[in-house]
Symmetry: C2
Subunit: 243 residues, 2 copies
């Protein structure tokens, strides 16, 4: 079972103050690129795995989705999601993604933002998503980029010329990584890009697009403190189609 | 036009002493994984782009390929390739990959080992490979992994615990990189993994497999000095199919 760190009081308090929690999708700098990878949503049945506060569910409803089911393991997040969701086409369910089984062919789009890197048995989760999608259905997801999850110590170094330099080690050794992000002892699963692609293919998906996201030069111009974030990508964005 | 570093005397002398030049494919530690990505070769028409000393061409002939055309820009390499190739089904041609145009649908497999990271206009090269492959034909290639080409300074650092750590910066800023590998001023083109995949899709290929190659734990056990090479992959191996 995946660690439910979001119901940790310290983690939840910190997470609730992040721009993406306060401003929603507009506070997530990767959102424009992820949005561009979505199929048209009008009339579709949408599954959101790791729905958090329901920002994506409400976006999908606003785009005309026929129905949206948001699933999350965190009671605290779902409580706020329900409170802030007036849309009647949106439902929420508390479940561990490691065991949640959607209805067969019940959805046209599965979306998951920054949740899969917590999943231990991702092959099993992808197999159930495949079952839950109608033929031709699409999975659009984001995870922390493997360059972020790989290192034993996630802190910047400087190269011989003083450039901000990301310290990569352990990339080929997959498995759990413990980090102290918002709270102590947060467990994430490190996988290589190649493994993400192998798992998708193994579950019966064809890759449509892969993006290694970091701030664009335009975003850095608007927010100069982000300059070093172009040293390596922050997120991996993937769109795949059910074969 | 791509730099023809292989005809530089210093570079050629150094390159000729590498295990992969002395022992051939058996001296290339990534070869078993690349080989596993190849389709059956019996009866096929094979194009080898950046054929070097002809090791792969002779392997393909040995596997029963109907014909093999090896293309390389280096006169020095082709001279040795011709000298060491008795097989009559193998031909060699001197050409810059940036302008070489294979006959339309003239090949079933295009192979290229560690050449594409020298190519400036890879989109155009992939488009010509697509034209040169029969429908359903396969491209199997390797390039230096983007984690190798990205950094301004390709030398190991240590993290706070002394672990060998690869210094990643500039990953998202694509373009030429000058390194001093075997000779001074070797120019390679840095591209992200996402860009390699976008270029393949844009040229009309579907991804079959992507491998981020580093030595396996078994290879490290046999050659302990390779241990730090598991900190990050060395090569990207790709198999794609002409749509």
């Amino acid at each position: 079972m995946t660690q439910n760190i979001y119901d940790d009081e310290t983690f939840f308090a910190g997470y609730s103050r992040l721009p993406r929690s306060v401003q929603g999708l507009a506070g997530a700098p990767e959102w424009p690129e992820l949005r561009a990878m979505l199929p048209p949503l009008a009339g579709t049945r949408v599954l959101d795995l790791g729905c958090g506060f329901g920002w994506f569910a409400r976006f999908a409803a606003g785009e005309g989705a026929a129905s949206v089911l948001g699933v999350d393991v965190s009671e605290r997040m779902l409580e706020r999601a329900r409170r802030e969701t007036p849309d009647t086409c949106i439902g929420y369910r508390r479940a561990d993604l490691e065991s949640f089984a959607p209805d067969a062919a019940g959805f046209d789009l599965a979306h998951s933002s920054l949740a899969f890197h917590y999943i231990v048995d991702l092959a099993a989760v992808l197999a159930r998503i495949h079952t839950g999608l109608a033929p031709g259905g699409v999975l659009v997801c984001s995870v922390e980029h493997p360059l972020l999850t790989a290192p034993a110590r996630q802190s910047w170094l400087a190269d011989a010329d003083g450039r901000p330099t990301w310290p990569v080690n352990g990339y080929l050794d997959e498995g759990p990584r413990v980090s102290n992000w918002l709270a102590d002892g947060v467990i994430k699963q490190h996988r290589t890009i190649a493994t993400y692609l192998d798992l998708l293919r193994g579950a019966g998906f064809s890759l449509r697009r892969l993006v290694e996201w970091g701030p664009s030069p335009q975003q850095v111009a608007a927010e100069p403190s982000w300059a070093k974030e172009r040293a390596r990508p922050l997120f991996l964005l993937i769109a795949a189609q059910r074969d």
